[in-house]
């Protein structure tokens, strides 16, 4: 049976191979059936149908989305955890970067300027923040240039990540994929955390006030929850087997 199925193109086998094998097991094959399968296999090579490629593409997309969903959940959890154990930050950064890359580009394979900005800005933020992490590990809190310390580099990166996440969330909100409500949570959380963090980091205010601290921590937790929620939504979204309405 498998030899007959192997006559078909790989894309065809991926889509129909299993059920076709099951059918061949159900029937007693006559010489006519063998010839029929041979002709059909040649036909499948000559005339591939969109359903085969569409189903494969969608399955791939679903698998990819699932992985990015896990990355988002990891990133969100670690981002919240960072406020308790700061060594978790690199995990949060990498998780969120992967999630941003996948979940911003996957829906509809859009390649708009805002979609790119929603990835590139936080990606740059993550890169800068990781440089800050390395500098802190190497130099502790010694000044780099003037009053600029490694902590400022890390904070600059985190602020870039938050600002980029706002762009990502704005780009995601109009679409149901991967989810409006989680995107709204990311948006509000990122704005609140940014607004709370920036004045403290750069000493625009003499002492951290309660509202700023509340915005920083509350926003960060909401931001993390938004990513966990978005990841969960992306994982739960079922694959659509066929979306081909080719006429």
């Amino acid at each position: 049976m498998n030899r007959l199925v192997r006559l078909y193109p790989a894309a065809w086998r991926d889509r129909y191979g299993d059920e076709f094998s099951a059918l061949l097991e159900d029937i007693r094959l006559s010489p006519f059936d063998m010839i029929d399968i041979l002709f059909a296999a040649v036909d499948a090579h000559l005339h591939p149908q969109p359903a085969e490629t569409a189903a494969n593409l969608q399955r791939d997309t679903h698998m990819t989305r699932k992985h990015y969903g896990w990355a988002a959940m990891l990133g969100g959890t670690m981002f919240i955890g960072t406020w308790l154990v700061d060594v978790l930050y690199p995990l949060a950064a990498v998780g969120l970067l992967l999630a941003l890359a996948g979940l911003s580009a996957v829906p509809g394979r859009r390649r708009t300027g805002r979609a790119w900005l929603g990835f590139l800005l936080p990606a740059a933020g993550v890169a800068v923040s990781l440089v800050g992490v390395v500098l802190i590990a190497a130099l502790a809190d010694s000044p780099l240039i003037g009053s600029v310390r490694p902590y400022h580099v890390l904070a600059l990166g985190v602020l870039g990540l938050l600002a980029g996440s706002v762009v990502f969330a704005l780009d995601t909100l109009p679409s149901d994929s991967p989810g409006r409500k989680p995107a709204a949570a990311i948006l509000i959380g990122a704005i609140a955390a940014f607004a709370g963090m920036a004045p403290q980091v750069y000493a625009w205010t003499p002492t951290p006030s309660v509202p700023l601290l509340a915005a920083t921590y509350g926003g960060s937790v909401l931001y993390g929850i938004g990513w966990i929620w978005l990841g969960y939504t992306a994982i739960r979204q079922p694959p659509v087997l066929v979306d081909a309405q080719a006429t």
Partner: protein, 107 residues
């Protein structure tokens, strides 16, 4: 002929038989084969069956359902229902005209 099935060429007839079979409800490949054999008295080859199924699926006339023990049922879409109805009406009209002419020739 419905535009969505007009380009099926030699697969047009097997495709129509599959659509007719699915009007009774979702069926997997083997059930379609046996149903078509009962309807027409002729067996549909497994290669032809899947060649027609993939074309119908690509045109959105049928859709696959989750597999049950490797056997995947298919069902008509709204587009498929409209297509099979239109084709059967067209065939009915042709059959009526043909039979009328036969009877007129016999008299």
């Amino acid at each position: 002929v419905n535009p969505s099935t007009s380009d099926l060429g030699r697969m047009a007839e097997p495709a129509l038989l599959i659509l007719i079979s699915l009007t009774a409800g979702p069926r997997h490949g083997y059930a379609i084969m046996t149903d078509v054999e009962q309807m027409t008295g002729e067996a549909l080859g497994p290669g032809t069956l899947y060649a027609a199924l993939s074309r119908l699926e690509s045109r959105g006339l049928i859709e696959a359902m989750p597999p049950v023990e490797r056997r995947r049922p298919y069902r008509l879409t709204a587009l498929g229902e409209a297509a099979v109805e239109e084709q059967l009406h067209a065939l009915e009209k042709v059959a009526r005209v043909g039979l009328k002419r036969l009877r007129a020739g016999a008299e």
